[in-house]
């Protein structure tokens, strides 16, 4: 007697299910496997770039580096005397360093941060409207690496030149701890309200409450931070760079002008050779007879009365090249008698 089973499938459903669960022979599977092996799936590599870059911070750091480089060049090739710098060695030219003017370009328009925030009309963009944006999925390791890089940038802007590795790791972990504490505080704010307890979206007023309970400051302080710290520091560094660059440019031009002047060997040797003139006070070559030595005539090159007297300072005797008529030798003349002879010779011509 045929049995009626409860829940028995109908014939139409049985055939469909049988098709799905029917056994596939191994030979058919081998054909499929060979097809799959011949057409291997193409490897898809997904690279996500997370930019850790703030134009203001990057520009501030670059400008600080350039200022240090220029200052070291100035300190190396010049000496400061008073308020001006003087080249140490005129023969040594200062190396030329070219910095493109785009390095100190103004990234921030004055309207945004000089006028009160409510004076500036907001731009009608997707971001301002709150349109959802796509963010790449990153791991915790990448988060920590990004935080370390951000910490390094902020430390350089603050004024640090070096850091211990343990301090850097500690700082990045502290930043992560701060963000996690903020998340926890937001959760506490949500937990206090039954309507918000299961809400997964954050409203700005709840965020403000959480931030205020953590730091005792409003979120609007972010605007002050940007204006009074970040932008002011950027402007300060650019102004300092411009000042140092002007000083360097002045020294460079001075160095180049000194290099252009051509010195000849004869200029140094002929510096005391002066053309003969009738004026006794000017450069003149004169012959005069020395009456104190009698018949000996002396040929002395006289440059200038004052110059000769200055040259004779500190000397008691002077050797005069003479051409004695008798064929005698060189003699030395006492200074006092020599100077009196000069004075007597020059006086009539003045």
């Amino acid at each position: 007697m045929p049995r009626n089973l409860w829940g028995e499938f109908k014939e139409d459903e049985k055939t469909q299910q049988n098709e799905l669960t029917k056994m596939v022979p191994v030979s058919a599977k081998r054909l499929k496997l060979s097809e799959v092996q011949n057409q291997l799936p193409a490897e898809v590599s997904k690279n996500v770039t997370v930019k850790v870059k703030n134009p203001l911070v990057t520009q501030t750091i670059e400008v600080m580096k350039q200022t240090e480089m220029l200052q070291s060049l100035i300190d190396t090739y010049s000496n400061k005397s008073g308020t001006s710098n003087y080249l140490l060695n005129p023969c040594q030219m200062i190396p030329e360093v070219n910095f493109p003017p785009e390095n100190v370009a103004n990234f921030v328009t004055d309207d945004k941060f000089t006028k009160p925030i409510w004076f500036v009309p907001p731009q009608d963009t997707n971001f301002a409207k709150g349109v959802p944006q796509h963010y790449p999925q990153i791991t915790s390791d990448i988060c920590r690496a990004s935080l370390r890089k951000a910490v390094c940038g902020q430390m350089r802007v603050a004024g640090f030149t070096d850091t211990a590795e343990s301090a850097l790791i500690l700082f990045a972990d502290a930043c992560e701890e701060f963000i996690l504490n903020l998340m926890q505080t937001i959760r506490e704010v949500h937990a206090n309200d039954q309507k918000l307890e299961t809400q997964r979206d954050i409203e700005v007023k709840n965020l403000e409450k959480a931030y205020y309970s953590m730091t005792n400051n409003s979120l609007t302080q972010v605007h002050n931070y940007f204006k009074h710290h970040l932008i002011a520091k950027n402007r300060l560094e650019i102004a300092e760079f411009n000042g140092v660059f002007q000083e360097y440019d002045k020294l460079m031009k001075e160095s180049q002008s000194m290099q252009k002047e051509e010195f000849q060997e004869g200029d140094f040797m002929n510096i005391f050779e002066m053309p003969s003139t009738s004026d006794g006070n000017n450069l003149a070559m004169q012959d005069f007879s020395n009456t104190t030595t009698g018949n000996i005539s002396n040929n002395v090159n006289i440059v200038n009365q004052n110059t000769l007297i200055n040259l004779l300072d500190g000397q008691n005797q002077i050797t005069i090249q003479q051409q004695p008529q008798d064929g005698g030798t060189q003699t030395t003349v006492d200074l006092q008698t020599y100077t009196t002879d000069i004075n007597t010779h020059f006086q009539p011509q003045e």
Binding site: W118, Q154, V204
Partner: protein, 136 residues
Amino acid sequence: MVVSNDDEIDSSEFALEGLESAPGDALSELLQHLEDYTPTVPDAVAEKYLHMAGFETVDPRIVRIIAVTAQKFISDVANDALQHCKTRSNSQHSGGHGSNKDKKSIKDRKYTLAIEDLTPALADHGITMRKPQYFV
């Protein structure tokens, strides 16, 4: 708002409402201009931590403001740590020989961030760090 016949009470209540709405207005103004505030901490990092906490924030402005607050925290701690570092180095130089060269190179002095400088700076911002006494 309570409606009453006393005009003075109405005006004071209106004034109170104006005061309460001022911070909200400032915040809404800030949110509209957040696109200009490019943070050093990427938005993706802030979004990751929001996701870890169980939030599914759709508004990019909230993500941006969290990233900017993190950057502000880093900047405040760095400035405090620099002050501690300068105080420590000045006390070391004044306690030492103290020559003219040290006085001249104040501007050129290099500052290295150390744990000793970072610990008090973090403590001022609510993060306590303690080193273990010894390793067993």
